[in-house]
């Protein structure tokens, strides 16, 4: 591996690089802290391994099966108070830490949910989960739990509504313009290794180059023939973009 490859790898995995550096520094400073941290991390890691695959399987299935209309009617801009309450309920009956909620809510957003309902689901997922309430009542007492619940639910809805006013759907979805939608579709077909064999930094960049006609599907080395065919099909369905270049 040469220096350039390493630079690219670090650039694509900034947080991982930072974490590794932090751990190396700690190992030099105090091996005890290093191993304690690893032990602590392994607890979180176990939770992640238990929950994330299921979360991603469900989001994938929702993406394939649930229609845009259904999501829009339930969580869209016009879903009103009912949509907000369903959002609170959905967040309440969830499992896993908040980072597991990001992929779920992102899928809903892409399928037509409003920004405010996304925030409501995220917040409810974080603070008023039903299993969490049981633990809370056990340790903090029932009055504490109930008071917090009663105050928190309206607060969550408030945060949702305000965020919805400040951020628009279009700003959030990478697939808001026609070209973005195309990029998104291609990225889903591309292998997603971000290997750089095609000379582009990431699969996202490759997708852009494919659309503008600069690159040919054959530049992608890890893609199987079947995937290259699919890429060609997607590109052909948008002939205008290809002619533009």
């Amino acid at each position: 591996m040469n220096i350039e490859d390493l630079k690219g790898l670090v650039k694509n995995n900034k947080i991982a690089a930072f974490t590794i550096c932090a751990y190396v520094a700690v190992l030099v400073y105090s091996p005890t802290i290093f191993f304690d941290s690893l032990k602590m991390t392994s607890i979180y890691f176990r939770e992640m391994v238990e929950i994330l695959p299921a979360v991603f399987i469900i989001t994938g299935l929702v993406e394939v099966w649930v229609s845009r209309e259904t999501i829009m009617n339930t969580f869209g801009e016009d879903s009103g108070m009912k949509g907000r309450l369903i959002s609170v309920l959905m967040g309440s009956f969830s499992a896993g830490p908040i980072y597991a909620a990001f992929p779920v809510t992102y899928t809903l957003l892409k399928k037509g949910s409003s920004v405010s309902n996304i925030v409501i689901i995220l917040s409810a997922w974080a603070v008023v989960k039903v299993p969490m309430l049981f633990v809370e009542a056990q340790f903090m007492g029932l009055p504490f739990m109930l008071t917090r619940y009663v105050i928190t639910v309206p607060a969550i809805i408030g945060i949702g509504v305000v965020t919805g006013k400040l951020v628009s759907r279009e700003q959030l979805i990478r697939g808001s313009t026609e070209e973005d939608i195309l990029v998104e579709r291609l990225v889903q077909v591309l292998p997603g290794h971000n290997c750089g064999a095609c000379s582009y930094q990431s699969c996202h960049e490759t997708a852009k180059a494919l659309i503008s006609g600069i690159a040919d599907p054959s530049v992608c080395l890890p893609a199987e023939d079947e995937e290259k065919e699919e890429i060609k099909k997607i590109l052909e369905s948008h002939p205008k973009k290809q002619k533009a270049k």
Binding site: I15, T19, S37, K39, I57, L61, S123, F144, I151
Partner: protein, 160 residues
């Protein structure tokens, strides 16, 4: 394994079987999609979990206990909210911790702020959030959640 985790995994398996019976190709497509997504974000999540592990080892809950022990309620509330914001602790660890803090004299108001920011505001998970929703959304959501946590805590101070 906790019951919610089991429920979640069962739901995923059930939906997967249902989907597979209805349409093999669609299911395969959805699984490939899931796999790619998971791979895309996996390294980032593992890195952040490792950072949380490091953070909680460097600043163990016991230290927080001593700091909060001898400060006034308003200051303790802000410190609790701030500590809750940067870290991410599962509820089954957070509540026993909060309860032990109350036993040692911490005020309920501070604990409400602690619990709310702990779970809702996440500076350490912000990179993952940005990956999905962008910087603006992440910033606004976290700031609003932080403010709401303080308000919720104040509200609880009035009622309890």
């Amino acid at each position: 394994m906790r019951i919610t985790t089991i429920a979640l995994i069962s739901l995923a398996v059930f939906l997967l079987l249902w989907s597979f019976r209805k349409d093999k190709d669609k299911t395969k497509k959805s699984l490939r999609l899931s796999g790619k997504r998971l791979k895309g974000i996996g390294v980032e999540i593992i890195s952040i979990l490792a950072l949380i592990g490091l953070f909680l080892t460097l600043i163990p809950p016991g230290t927080i206990r001593t700091i909060l022990g001898d400060t006034s309620v308003p200051l303790a509330t802000i410190i609790s909210a701030a500590f809750g914001s940067v870290s991410l602790i599962p509820a089954f660890v957070a509540f026993p911790l909060a309860a032990s803090l109350v036993d040692q004299g911490a005020h309920l108001v501070s604990m409400a702020a602690f619990i709310t920011t702990l779970t809702m505001v996440g500076f350490i998970t912000a990179p993952i959030e940005i990956e999905y929703f962008g910087k603006k959304f992440t910033l606004i959501r976290n700031i609003l959640s932080f403010l709401a946590a303080i308000l919720i805590a104040l509200g609880m101070g009035v009622i309890l």
